[in-house]
């Protein structure tokens, strides 16, 4: 029960934060953070993945509804949701038995940092490539990925450190 509340809180707070606040940031004119990737990072690990994949798709799609972007947020968020397990296996060396007890806050910061940055960069790259929807302007896609990823990561680690201090 506690988990359902946690997940729905995560879902709606990230959705509204992204749509009403972060989509209007436009740092230096065009750089936006896409913090809703945090949904994939914070969602508890489980063997059964249908619900997780579906909720990631739904969160992306809801953001698409608000920002009139077709299905690009749904596509990119679902993609990182699917490949999340691969990176958990590679970076944290976890097997299926460890999923239940896995907690990001108890892992060494270096590994968490790598994991989060990789997910954010992959997500942003797919997002901007799909938004561009052509082979032209590829340098803009790369520049946007770099700037926005930096912005999102900074926001993510700031936010995460605040939450962690509260929990202590």
């Amino acid at each position: 029960m506690n988990k359902i509340v946690y997940i729905s809180f995560l879902f709606f707070s990230l959705l509204f934060l992204q749509v009403f606040l972060l989509n209007n940031v436009m740092f230096l004119g065009y750089i936006n953070p896409y913090l809703y990737v945090a949904f994939v990072i914070f969602y508890p690990l489980k063997k059964e993945r249908f619900l997780f994949l579906f909720l990631s798709f739904l969160l992306g799609l809801s953001i698409d509804f608000f920002s009139d972007s077709g299905g690009i947020n749904a596509f990119s968020l679902l993609f990182v949701a699917y490949i999340r397990l691969f990176f958990i296996r590679v970076i944290f060396k976890k097997t299926e038995q460890d999923y239940l007890l896995f907690n990001l806050q108890q892992e060494p910061f270096g590994k968490v940092f790598n994991y989060v940055i990789i997910l954010i960069v992959i997500h942003h790259f797919i997002l901007f490539s799909l938004a561009n929807f052509s082979t032209q302007n590829f340098s803009i896609v790369l520049a946007n990925t770099l700037y926005s990823s930096t912005f999102t990561s900074v926001l993510f680690f700031l936010g995460a450190s605040i939450i962690r201090k509260k929990n202590k």
């Binding site: 989509n23 994949l53 509804f65 608000f66 009139d68 077709g70 690009i72 749904a74 929807f133």
Partner: protein
Amino acid sequence: MQQLIYFFRKYKYFLFFLLLEIIALFFTINNNNFHKSKFISSANEITGGFYKKTSKISNYFNLKFQNEELISENEELKNLLEKYISKTDSTVSVSIIDSTLNYQKYTYTKAKVYSNNYHNPNNFILLNKGENQGVNKEMAVVNSKGVIGITEDVSANYARVQSILNSNSKINAKLKNSSHFGTLVWNGKDYNIVQLEDLPRQANMKVGDTIITGGKSIIFPEGILIGTIQKIYTKSSNKFIDIKLFNDMSNIGNVYIITALEKEEIHSLNNTLDE
């Protein structure tokens, strides 16, 4: 059969993932196509309602700018009216107005911008008017400073506008001081700069000239402002120009939707010609 079930069981997550990704890709491709019906659009009651609430708050922050814009528009319109009154002053000249020759071609409806984006390659604007207020697909949207876009998806109370800052936007435009015309497009780089393509080589122009809508399309009336020429370059036999917009597309509040009253007639004429 056994192997098929085993296959599905082994790859069930991957297949589910693939299915959802295909759906998302379908929506994305659909969104890049103007004439197909739209599935994912903010012009629905839920997202429109949320944007209505937030715009009530955010509107307060640029009231000053909006007021200044409206007053300068009023000034312009009053000057136009004065000119018109002095022209038709019957003590100076007698003119007979034949009501069968002069009739209205366009009507304007005011609307408010609920959400506006300008940093994507394909940008859309959400307005607070929809089918219930007489707004349909493919109507022009302008403000006092110039062209904003074309409505492309309409629900009962909201309309989604394809902004001129959209890679699919193609609007007929021409030079103010001659009738050479071209197509207005956007390359997705700077939201203050749009491009005019396919102008004939012999068109005479210089940096700083004004560009207006061409009147070759049924949607836009002729003579709506767009911007001034910033840069001219020639490719093969055509000229291409960069236009600096009069509008600040990142800051628009009140707009007008233009209904072209002759649209049906022109459409039906075109259809009979095709047959």
